[in-house]
């Protein structure tokens, strides 16, 4: 597909992300058991399940309304830290593309950047704090770079994906400053941050949907 995403495409992406999250349940739960309280996967999985249930409705909206609706659903269903963070992120994303029916290459970048900023402001965390930010921030940076360099779509998708995955991977050696992992004696060092991992799943699925 060309880089012109409809609400239906985005709903399609949600399904893909759900599948990837869903099948990694044990792994993500292990991570949150090691660094947090063990519920991150069940929280986020429940949220995506709800989104998938609503995917027909979502697919019928304008993209910006869709993003807003996703934010509301995520905030209501997920709860916990990730609920309010993703909720805030999607509401901000909706605002950033207000009135838009579809998303072009540039708009998708705006969406991701709006999400990043919303998460940072809601959670008072920064890159390097061992959170979901550490997957999203490098992905946004890479995305912008690709736009500057005007790479082809396939390259962009691969590079953004890699940035997100590497970013999640890098949380392994970080010390947590925000969130439950701060309670660990070693601040979670040695374990990936579960929120960064599920963020990377979403960015991967996102890029996969567009890169076809």
């Amino acid at each position: 597909m060309a880089f012109e995403l409809t609400a239906a495409d985005y709903a399609e992406y949600i399904k893909k992300a759900y599948a990837l999250i869903h099948e990694n349940g044990d792994y993500v739960t292990e991570l949150d058991l090691a660094t947090g309280d063990g519920d991150h996967w069940s929280n986020i999985n429940m949220g995506f399940e709800k989104l998938v249930e609503n995917s027909e409705k979502l697919a019928g909206m304008s993209v910006s309304d869709e993003l807003k609706e996703i934010g509301k659903i995520m905030m209501a269903v997920i709860g916990g830290s990730s609920g309010v963070l993703y909720g805030s992120a999607y509401l901000a994303a909706a605002k950033s593309v207000k009135g838009k029916e579809t998303l072009g290459k540039k708009e998708l970048c705006d969406v991701l950047e709006a999400m990043l900023n919303a998460i940072i402001s809601r959670g008072q965390a920064q890159e390097g704090f061992k959170t979901m930010i550490d997957s999203l921030a490098p992905a946004v940076k890479e995305y912008k770079k690709c736009l500057e360099e005007d790479t082809d779509d396939k390259t962009l998708c691969e590079r953004v994906k890699k940035a997100a995955v590497d970013g999640a991977e890098n949380t392994k050696n970080m010390e947590a400053v925000r969130g439950r992992a701060t309670y660990q004696a070693n601040k979670g060092v040695g374990h990936l941050d579960p929120g960064a991992v599920t963020m990377s799943y979403q960015i991967q699925s996102n890029m996969d949907v567009f890169n076809v």
Binding site: T29, L33, G36, D37, G38, D39, S42, N43, M46, K72, M75, A76, V77, I78, G79, G80, S81, G83, V84, L85, G87, S88, R122, G123, A176, V177, R178, G179, R180, T182, Y183, Q184, A185
Partner: protein, 328 residues
């Protein structure tokens, strides 16, 4: 996993339904928002708290005269979302303002914080206080910092009593802050709890191991050690508390709290040791609570909380209350 449940996804909803059924006419339940609130709305500051489920009787068990006006429940060990908190605010605010009592977890702080912002936007006066009594965690302004645990019960009691007196929002907030400054807690876990949605323990402790300072969601503590006697446990918990805040020559309220799976008998034994230690240190016990007040599902273990009292805190502590889990 052996639990008396129907479906892991429904535990919070069904538990609150079952709770409300036991207090028909006294407590209301708002489906979806998972709010337990007082049946009668008072013409006073509304005191609202909440957080993840799994800490029963906290929070809904402290809804009632002289304590909370409403409690908002998230999923198990997960903060409630802003819209749930908003529903509680909308239900109980009576034009005198709302105090949100928040335990210091990122999720709670973010969700309650957003809910407060949204309510303010709707012209409801909202103040927040953050309970951070767990001395197992170093206090910090930079990082997430100290957790809120069983001392929260005292904060509910003090804030609720102040609000019941007809005090202003600023006064209720000040009373809650005053309580928070004087409360310290420290816990110990002996076995993990099992989350209904996970079905297996979050960590493992060897047959002869306990963990000092573990949090109420199984967050790691400060030290794993061999099983201790009740006397040693009392010493360890109390020493850590006394090292953090000066209780010398003061009068205190004591809470010997069970984490859910520990029999009352053991909590009483611990209380005996705590009492003797406090007496030997010249700290006077004004009031003692022993029981399961802030739990972690079926975790075994305990926590100890001290609140240093002055005349105002004594009066508010002694004020009548009538809730499922605390009544006098």
């Amino acid at each position: 996993m052996k639990k008396i449940i129907n479906n892991p996804a429904d535990v919070v909803k069904e538990a609150l339904q079952g709770m409300q059924a036991a207090y028909e006419g006294t407590l209301d339940y708002t489906p979806g928002a998972e709010v337990i609130s007082r049946h009668e709305k008072g013409d006073k500051v509304a005191v609202i708290s909440g957080g993840g489920a799994g800490h029963e009787p906290l929070h809904a068990g402290f809804v009632g005269k002289g304590m909370l006006d409403a409690a908002v429940s998230g999923n198990v060990f997960s903060s409630p979302s802003p819209d749930r908190i908003g529903a509680a605010i909308e239900k109980m605010e009576a034009g005198k303002g709302v105090l949100l009592v928040i335990k210091n977890y990122s999720g709670d702080v973010m969700n309650f914080g957003l809910a407060a912002d949204l309510a303010e936007a709707d012209d409801v006066e909202v103040e927040t206080v953050v309970v951070k009594d767990d001395v197992a965690v170093p206090d910090s302004t930079y990082s997430t910092g100290r957790r809120g645990i069983a001392g929260t019960v005292f904060v509910h009691k003090i804030a609720g009593a102040k609000a019941e007196e007809g005090a202003s929002l600023a006064e209720v907030k000040a009373a809650a802050e005053h309580a928070i400054q004087n409360i310290r807690s420290m816990g110990m876990a002996m076995s993990p709890c099992i989350l209904p949605a996970v079905g297996k323990p979050g960590f493992v402790l060897a047959e002869d191991e306990i963990e000092i300072g573990m949090g109420i969601h199984g967050e790691p503590g400060v030290e794993r050690t061999k099983v201790k006697t009740a006397k040693e446990v009392a010493e360890i918990l109390l020493d850590k508390i006394l090292a953090d805040y000066d209780y010398a020559d003061s009068e205190v309220a004591v809470l010997v709290n069970g984490l859910g799976g520990t029999p009352l008998m053991e909590l009483y034994i611990l209380n005996k040791e705590v009492k003797e230690l406090l007496e030997s240190k010249g700290i006077k016990i004004y009031k003692t609570l022993v029981g399961n007040y802030t739990t972690a599902l079926d975790m075994t273990g305990c926590s100890l909380t001290l609140m240093k009292l002055d005349d105002e805190l004594k009066r508010l502590l002694d004020a009548p209350c009538d809730t499922p889990a605390l009544k006098w």
